[in-house]
């Protein structure tokens, strides 16, 4: 289990990580979601002892990373798949890690097979690798020591859709055997495919966290009626705050209560469902809108 407590990292006046607390449970894949520059990588570097924290604490099963002897055998880390010597072959990079961890050289071939890198690909220099191949090599490197905890920064970046599904089943099996997985992404759909638990971070602060189901539920209901105006009035009268969303409305309440309100008001509904991933996406965009570099035309009034 990874426990992050009140973690803060400042660079001068800039708070890259701002009082962040969360935990990653064994047996689960925890997704760390946030736009670029939200503080995901900084948090992960602090976790692995590469960056000193300004305040707060990270422990893995109660232990500081630096206090784990031969940490590669217990914690698999991939922080940047491109951070490799361009002139080394993929096989040689794995061989160096195997040597450092004290693993037999045969482990290199096992890992290459696991991540579907061929023998001839493994003998090429990393500068000739695509980003997807580098990610596979990085995953092989992280899994080599048969670790109990995995910390992966943007591991699905550069993978094709088939590769993302491959990673999902790989990490799923790993978590099912009792492993703890923390992976980051700036893409919601990657996290939705791979993760069980989601932590959303923006501007260094955690803005939402919970199970994928909870997060999907907590963003409420999508509802549409023939007369949305009338529906909105009825919802407002019932204490809800509807906002326009596509052809219908988004409401914080759950579908049951929203349906009841519509029935009481005698309004025929066209559609009624949990807001689902579109809602999560909207939440993600909204919660992190301040850190988005692109200026999105503010359709949803009142969101501030």
């Amino acid at each position: 289990m990874i426990t992050v407590q009140n973690l803060t990292k400042t660079y001068g006046p800039f708070r890259a990580v701002d009082d962040v607390s969360f935990a990653c449970q064994p047996g689960k894949v925890t997704g760390f979601l946030g736009p670029n520059g939200a503080g995901k990588s900084t948090t992960m570097r602090i976790m692995t002892g590469l960056t000193p924290a300004t305040a707060g604490d990270v422990r893995i099963d109660g232990v500081h990373y630096q206090d784990i002897p031969n940490p590669g055998r217990q914690i698999g880390v991939l922080l940047d798949a491109s951070a490799q010597h361009a002139g080394r072959t993929g096989r040689e990079i794995l061989a160096l890690s195997a040597l450092t961890m004290g693993l037999p050289a045969s482990r290199v071939d096992e890992m290459l097979e696991l991540v579907s890198l061929t023998q001839s690909e493994s003998k090429r220099r990393v500068k000739n690798y695509s980003l997807g191949m580098r990610q596979r090599l990085g995953i092989a490197n992280a899994l080599m020591g048969d670790p109990k905890v995995l910390i992966l920064d943007e591991p699905a970046n550069g993978l094709d859709p088939a590769g993302i599904h491959w990673m999902r089943s790989l990490l799923r099996h790993y978590a099912d055997r009792g492993g703890t997985v923390l992976l980051s992404s700036h893409l919601l759909h990657e996290i939705e495919i791979i993760a069980d638990e989601i932590i959303v971070i923006g501007q260094g602060r955690i803005v939402a966290q919970g199970s994928k189901e909870d997060l999907l539920q907590s963003v409420g209901t999508y509802v549409a009626a023939a007369d949305n105006q009338k529906l909105a009035e009825a919802l407002r009268a019932a204490g809800q705050t509807p906002s326009a969303s596509g052809e219908g409305l988004n409401v914080d309440g759950d579908p049951t209560s929203v349906g009841q309100i519509a029935l009481t008001a005698g309004i025929a509904l066209v559609e009624l469902r949990p807001a689902g991933s579109a809602g999560l996406e909207e939440m993600f965009l909204q919660l992190t809108s301040d850190t988005q570099r692109e200026v999105v035309a503010p359709n949803a009034g009142g969101a501030a």
Partner: protein
């Protein structure tokens, strides 16, 4: 937490660590397993052979002695060995391999020590190899030119030359730690090794006071006796004080910064 079997395997802080010898082995391997690293190492051997051939072909008969062969490696080795040490250090930052290295071994001091040990090992073996090639050259040179073999450098002389080259290598290592960038470190080393001696010589010629303190503060100057049969007691002390200024102090500062800095 330790006695339960139902919980998933927890991280165990009592497992054996990584022995230092293995770290040295890894660092040695890193010096050879890139194309540039491999050819840098090869160039040491190639240059030793070339220097030996030059001595055999162009040096007058009277100077075909082992001392001449051993001395011919001086400048090329003074150039190449520090670069070996510099690249060993700076690659972790310039190629960003430090992200993997320092997560597999979250003790940067150990990695720096292992790199230093590996660099010194390469330096000593390279010098021994060069001396062996020089010995072959001396035998061949004497035979080709119809001369008697002259062995005018004993083990102590050779050991002192090795020491001088290792000191140069360590200066390169120090610049690598200080700059963490290959270009900056190599330029700094060239300035230190090939520009500074001239400037200090000029200063000593112009200023009496500097001429008096130069042996105590100029590390290059203080090393000269290593090539001339060995330093006296006072000259060892001068190596110590100038080495403190040019190696120990900046190295301490550099290591302190590496230990504190972020690895990105």
């Amino acid at each position: 937490m330790s006695a339960t079997t139902t919980t998933p395997a927890a991280v165990d802080p009592r497992t054996p660590g990584i022995p230092f010898s293995r770290l040295v082995l890894v660092e040695l391997r890193k010096m050879f397993n890139t194309r540039s690293g491999f050819w840098l190492m090869m160039s040491i051997g190639i240059i030793a052979v070339l220097a030996t051939l030059v001595v055999i072909l162009f040096v007058p008969d009277s100077a075909i002695t082992y001392g001449t062969f051993a001395g011919a490696f001086g400048v090329p080795m003074a150039l190449l060995l520090p670069i070996v040490a510099i690249l060993s250090v700076t690659g972790e930052w310039s190629q960003r391999t430090g992200l993997v290295t320092f997560t597999l071994v979250p003790h940067r001091g150990s990695i720096i020590a292992a790199k230093a040990a590996a660099s010194v090992l390469v330096g000593v073996v390279s010098m021994a190899l060069a001396f062996a090639i020089g010995a072959v050259g001396n035998i061949v040179g004497a035979a080709v030119n119809g001369l008697d073999q002259v062995w005018d450098a004993d083990f102590k002389d050779l050991a002192l030359i090795v020491l001088a080259n290792i000191l140069g290598l360590l200066i390169g290592f120090m610049f690598g730690i200080l700059f963490r960038n290959p270009a900056g470190a190599i330029v700094a080393y060239l300035v230190y090794g090939f520009v500074l001696p001239g400037l200090f010589g000029l200063l000593a010629a112009l200023q009496d006071w500097f001429e008096k303190v130069q042996p105590w503060v100029d590390f290059n100057y203080a090393q000269a006796p290593l090539f001339e049969g060995g330093p006296s007691g006072e000259e060892w002390a001068q190596l110590g004080t100038s080495g403190l200024i040019w190696f120990v102090l900046p190295m301490t500062f550099g290591v302190w910064r590496v230990l504190k800095a972020e690895v990105k």
